[in-house]
C-alpha cells in the first residue's frame, strides 16, 4: 500500500443560486468538485498537481489534509483516514496555504514559532535544532525578530514554510507557493524544497499554475480538470502528448532564400529572419533541417524553448477545460 | 444638488437589498423593546410616577423603532477611511461634506423607515398595555413629524463629525465608539430621558443628543405640548446649524491636511 491512497474520491458542493424574482426560496445547484478521483503517492515523491481554477485541486488538498470530509470514496495517508483521525493525521503533515497566513501578524516570527512548538508539542531540544537548521536553509536568521507584517512577500513565504516544517512533517502540502514571488525568491524556494525532499524524504505535493515549478521540482505531475484526473505521469510524457507545435527561428546569409516548405508549416518573415511553426509528428525535425539547409546558408538558428504556459493552455483547450 | 440626490437614491436601493438582516434586526429590536417595557411595567407597579406608564412604553417603542437612525454606521465608509481609499473620493468634483451627508442620510432614512413601520405595527398590536399608545392628539402627531425630520438632520451632522474625527485619527473604533456610546445614553436609548432626575432633564434636553428622538417622542406623547413645537424646532434648528458648520469646518481642515500630505 502506498503512503497516500485515494480511491474514487467524491466531493459535491451545494451552491445557492441568486434568488429569482417571484420565488420564495433560492434554487440550489450541486457542483461536483471531485468525481471519482483515484491516485496513490509513495513516500518521498514530489508531485505537482495542476489544473485550471475550479478543477478541484484545493478540494483534494483540503480532503487530504483533513479540512473537508469527502462525500464518497476512500482516503488514507500513512494508514490514517484524515477526516476521521484528524488530530493524529495532522501531526504528520505540514500545509502552506498560498494566500492565508498561519503565523501571527503583529508579533516577531520567532514568537509564532515558539507558539507552534507548543501547539505541536515539539520537545525543546528538537525544536531549537530544527529551527536553527530551517532558519539557515531559508535565510531567516536576520528576520527572526521582525513582525510578519513587515516582511516582503518572498520573506513571508519562507517564514510560512519554516512554520509548517518545524514539527518535521512526513508530508508537505503547498498551495501555489510561488504565486506573486520574484524570480530570485522562486529559485531559492524551489532549491529549498528540493533540499528538504532529498534530506528528509519528505513527501511533497504542490498545486501550482506555474509550470516552471513543476519542471524544476516534480518527478511526477497530475492534471485535474472538471473534477477528474486527466493525466498522471512524468512531465516529459505530458509535454510529448500535448507539445504538438514547435517554433523555429532561422536567419539566412542571403536576403531571399529559396525556401520550399511543405504544407502544414506556417511561417512569417521579419527583420530577425523567418519564424516557422511545425508539428514534429507531420514533419520530422531532421527533415525540416535539411530543407532549411538546402535553401541557403544559415547564419542563425534558434529552437525556441518550450513555452510551458502555452502548452498548458493548449492542453486545457484540447481537453475542453 | 442632483449629485447629492443620486447618491441618496443609490444608497436607498442598497439598503433595500439587505432584507434578511433587516428581519433579524427587527426581531432583535422587538425583543429588546419587550424586555424594557416589561421592566418598566414592574417598576411602575409598586411606584407610580407622574408620567403615565403608557408614555414610557410608547417612548421605548419609538426609540427601538428608530434605533437604526442613531446607530448602524456606514461600515463601507469606515473601511474607506482606514484604507485611505477616501482620498479618491476627495478628488470628486462635489463638496465632500454634502456627498457624505446625503449618503449617511439615505442610509439612516431608509434603514429606519423600513424597520420602524413593521415594528410600530407589531408594537401597536401588543396586548395588556405592553404596546405603543396613540399620539396625545392629532396636533401632537403632526408636530412630531417635522421634529423627527430635524432630528434626522441633526444625527447625520453628528455622524459626519464622527467621520471627520475618524479621518483624523484613522482609528474608527476609538473616537467613534466613544461618541456613539455617549449618544446611546444621552439620547434616551438606554433609559428614557423622561426617567432621568428632573433637574438633569432641564440640562440634558438642551444637548444635541436629545434633539434626535427625545424631542419628537415628547411631542408625540404630549410631554411637550403642540404649542411648544416652535420652541422645539428652534432648538433643533440651532443644533443642526451648529453641527453642520462644525462638520464642514472639520472636513475642510481634513481636506487641506490630505492635500498637504499628498495622500
Amino acid at each position: 500500500m502506498s503512503y497516500i491512497e485515494v480511491n474514487n474520491l467524491k466531493k459535491d458542493f451545494v451552491v445557492k443560486k441568486k434568488r429569482e424574482k417571484g420565488k420564495l426560496l433560492r434554487e440550489r445547484d450541486t457542483v461536483h468538485a471531485l468525481k471519482e478521483v483515484s491516485f496513490s503517492v509513495d513516500k518521498g515523491e514530489l508531485v505537482g498537481y495542476i489544473g485550471p481554477n475550479g478543477a478541484g485541486k484545493s478540494t483534494t488538498v483540503k480532503i487530504l489534509s483533513g479540512i473537508l470530509t469527502p462525500d464518497g470514496g476512500e482516503v488514507s495517508v500513512g494508514g490514517l483516514v484524515p477526516y476521521k483521525e484528524r488530530r493524529a493525521h495532522v501531526k504528520n503533515i505540514g500545509v502552506v496555504f498560498g494566500q492565508r497566513s498561519q503565523l501571527w501578524w503583529d508579533v516577531p516570527i520567532v514568537d509564532s514559532y515558539n507558539l507552534l512548538k507548543d501547539i505541536y508539542r515539539i520537545p525543546q531540544g528538537d525544536y531549537e535544532a530544527r529551527l536553527k537548521e530551517l532558519a539557515q536553509a531559508l535565510q531567516l536568521e536576520e528576520l527572526m525578530r521582525t513582525p510578519l507584517r513587515l516582511l516582503s512577500l518572498g520573506q513571508r513565504m519562507r517564514a510560512e514554510l519554516c512554520g509548517s516544517l518545524l514539527h518535521r512533517p512526513e508530508l508537505l502540502f503547498l498551495d501555489e507557493p510561488t504565486i506573486g514571488l520574484d524570480a530570485v525568491s522562486k529559485l531559492s524556494l524551489r532549491e529549498f524544497l528540493k533540499w528538504e525532499n532529498e534530506e528528509y524524504g519528505t513527501t511533497i505535493m504542490l498545486t501550482t499554475h506555474d509550470m516552471e515549478d513543476i519542471a524544476a521540482l516534480c518527478s511526477r505531475v497530475m492534471v485535474l480538470g472538471h473534477g477528474q484526473k486527466l493525466f498522471d505521469g512524468k512531465l516529459p510524457d505530458l509535454l510529448e502528448r500535448f507539445d504538438t507545435v514547435r517554433n523555429v527561428q532561422v536567419k539566412f546569409d542571403v536576403p531571399n532564400p529559396n525556401l520550399k516548405l511543405p504544407d502544414g508549416v506556417e511561417w512569417s518573415q521579419s527583420e530577425d529572419g523567418i519564424e516557422l511553426s511545425y508539428e514534429p509528428s507531420v514533419l520530422p525535425t531532421a527533415q525540416l533541417l535539411s530543407i532549411l539547409q538546402e535553401a541557403g546558408n544559415i547564419s542563425e538558428l534558434t529552437l525556441q524553448p518550450e513555452n510551458t504556459d502555452h502548452l498548458i493552455a493548449a492542453m486545457y483547450k484540447e481537453l475542453d477545460l | 444638488m442632483r449629485a447629492y440626490l443620486s447618491v441618496f437614491k443609490m444608497r436607498l436601493r442598497m439598503e433595500l437589498q439587505y432584507r434578511g438582516a433587516m428581519i433579524g434586526g427587527i426581531l432583535c429590536q422587538m425583543f429588546f423593546g419587550l424586555v424594557l417595557v416589561a421592566l418598566y411595567k414592574t417598576l411602575y407597579d409598586g411606584n407610580p410616577q407622574p408620567m403615565p406608564f403608557s408614555s414610557i412604553a410608547t417612548y421605548v417603542w419609538l426609540q427601538q423603532a428608530f434605533f437604526r437612525m442613531m446607530l448602524g454606521s456606514d461600515s463601507d465608509l469606515l473601511d474607506k477611511i482606514r484604507s485611505g481609499d477616501i482620498s479618491y473620493d476627495m478628488c470628486r468634483p462635489v463638496n465632500m461634506y454634502g456627498f457624505y451627508y446625503a449618503r449617511i442620510m439615505a442610509q439612516k432614512f431608509m434603514g429606519s423607515i423600513m424597520r420602524a413601520v413593521p415594528m410600530l405595527i407589531l408594537a401597536a398590536i401588543l396586548p395588556m398595555g405592553y404596546g405603543i399608545s396613540g399620539p396625545a392628539s392629532v396636533w401632537g402627531l403632526l408636530s412630531a413629524i417635522p421634529a423627527l425630520f430635524l432630528g434626522l438632520l441633526c444625527v447625520c451632522a453628528l455622524e459626519n463629525i464622527t467621520m471627520a474625527f475618524t479621518m483624523k485619527t484613522l482609528d474608527p473604533r476609538g473616537m467613534q465608539g466613544l461618541l456613539n456610546l455617549l449618544m446611546m445614553t444621552l439620547s434616551g436609548n438606554i433609559l428614557p430621558l423622561t426617567l432621568f432626575p428632573d433637574s438633569w432633564q432641564k440640562v440634558i434636553t438642551f444637548f444635541p443628543y436629545a434633539q434626535l428622538l427625545d424631542a419628537p417622542i415628547r411631542l408625540y406623547t404630549g410631554d411637550y405640548l403642540p404649542v411648544d413645537a416652535l420652541r422645539v424646532y428652534a432648538l433643533q434648528g440651532f443644533w443642526v446649524i451648529v453641527l453642520v458648520s462644525l462638520g464642514v469646518a472639520m472636513w475642510n481642515a481634513n481636506k487641506k491636511r490630505m492635500v498637504v500630505q499628498g495622500g
Binding site: 479540512i67 496555504f97 498561519q102 507558539l115 501547539i119 | 432583535c28 411606584n47 433609559l191 426617567l195
Partner: protein
C-alpha cells in the same frame, strides 16, 4: 494542563499585538468604560427614581448588575474568538489553518481571540458588586464566596455557549448576528435585573433556553439572603451547573457542524 498553558501563552501574544497600537487601544478602552458606565448609570437612575424593584433594594440591583457585567465581559475578554471573531475566521479561511494542527478546533479558536479592552467593563462590574454588597449588607462567608465564583464561572460558560449559536450558524455561512444578539446581548440587558420582574414567557426563556436565572439569579439571590422563589439553599449550588450543560451541548453541536464545514476559496 498543556492546553491551558498554550491558551495563556497565545493570549499573552495577542495582548502584545494589541499594544502595538497603544493610542487606539487606550481610546477604545476608555470607550468601553463610557459604555458600561452608561449602563450602570441607568441602574443608578432607576434606583434613584423608583427606590425598589419588586422588593429588591438598590443594593440588590447593583449586585445583580455587577454579577452580569463581570460574567459577560470576562467572557467577551477571554472568549473573543467565539463571541466576536469566529464568522471572520470562517470567511478568511483562518479556520482551515486551525484544522491542520493537532489541537482541538475550539481550543484554537479561543486561543486566537482576546478583547483586553473589556477590562474596564469588568472593572465597572466589580465596582457594582462591591457597591451592592455594601448597600445590601451582605455577610460574606467562604461558602458565599464559593457560590459567587461558581455562579460567575458558570454564567461565563453559558454566555460562551449562547455565542456559539452564532458560530455554528456561520459554519454554514448563515448570517445570524441580529437574531443571536437578541439572546446574548438581549439576555445580558434583561438578566442584569432579577428574573422575577419579568412576565412568564420571558422567565421561561431565561430559565429553560438561556438559563441565566439558574446560573446567575438563583445563586445571587441566595447570597443576598433573599432566595429566589423561596427555593432551598442547595439549589444555589446545583442550578448554576446548567451553564456547563449548555456549553457542553453547544460544543457537541459545534463539532457536529464542523463535520459539514465546507471551507472557502478555490
Amino acid at each position: 494542563m498543556n492546553t491551558l498553558r498554550l491558551y495563556f501563552k497565545s493570549i499573552g501574544m495577542l495582548l502584545r499585538s494589541h499594544l502595538q497600537y497603544p493610542s487606539s487601544f487606550i481610546m477604545q478602552t476608555i470607550a468601553q468604560l463610557v459604555m458600561e458606565g452608561g449602563e450602570m448609570l441607568a441602574v443608578i437612575l432607576i434606583v434613584d427614581r423608583f427606590n425598589n424593584l419588586k422588593g429588591w433594594s438598590g443594593g440588590d440591583l447593583y449586585f445583580f448588575f455587577g454579577m452580569m457585567s463581570v460574567s459577560f465581559y470576562l467572557t467577551e475578554m477571554f472568549g473573543r474568538g467565539i463571541t466576536g471573531d469566529f464568522p471572520m475566521m470562517v470567511r478568511t479561511g483562518k479556520l482551515d489553518t486551525f484544522l491542520v494542527r493537532p489541537r482541538g478546533v475550539l481550543t484554537q479558536v479561543l486561543c486566537a481571540g482576546t478583547d483586553p479592552r473589556r477590562i474596564t467593563c469588568v472593572a465597572v462590574g466589580v465596582a457594582a458588586l462591591i457597591m451592592g454588597s455594601n448597600l445590601s449588607d451582605i455577610v460574606w462567608t467562604p461558602l458565599k464566596a464559593l457560590v459567587l465564583v461558581e455562579s460567575i464561572a458558570m454564567s461565563c460558560l453559558l454566555i460562551l455557549g449562547l455565542f456559539m449559536i452564532e458560530a455554528i450558524f456561520s459554519i454554514f455561512s448563515v448570517k445570524s448576528v441580529e437574531l443571536v444578539n437578541a439572546i446574548t446581548y438581549g439576555g445580558r440587558s434583561a438578566c442584569q435585573y432579577p428574573i422575577d420582574v419579568y412576565p412568564l414567557p420571558l422567565r421561561a426563556l431565561f430559565t429553560v433556553i438561556a438559563p441565566f436565572a439558574l446560573t446567575l439569579h438563583v445563586p445571587a439571590s441566595w447570597i443576598l439572603d433573599k432566595p429566589l422563589y423561596g427555593w432551598p439553599a442547595w439549589t444555589a449550588f446545583v442550578t448554576p451547573l446548567s451553564g456547563v450543560l449548555v456549553f457542553g451541548i453547544m460544543t457537541g453541536v459545534f463539532h457536529l457542524g464542523m463535520r459539514h464545514y465546507r471551507s472557502t476559496g478555490s
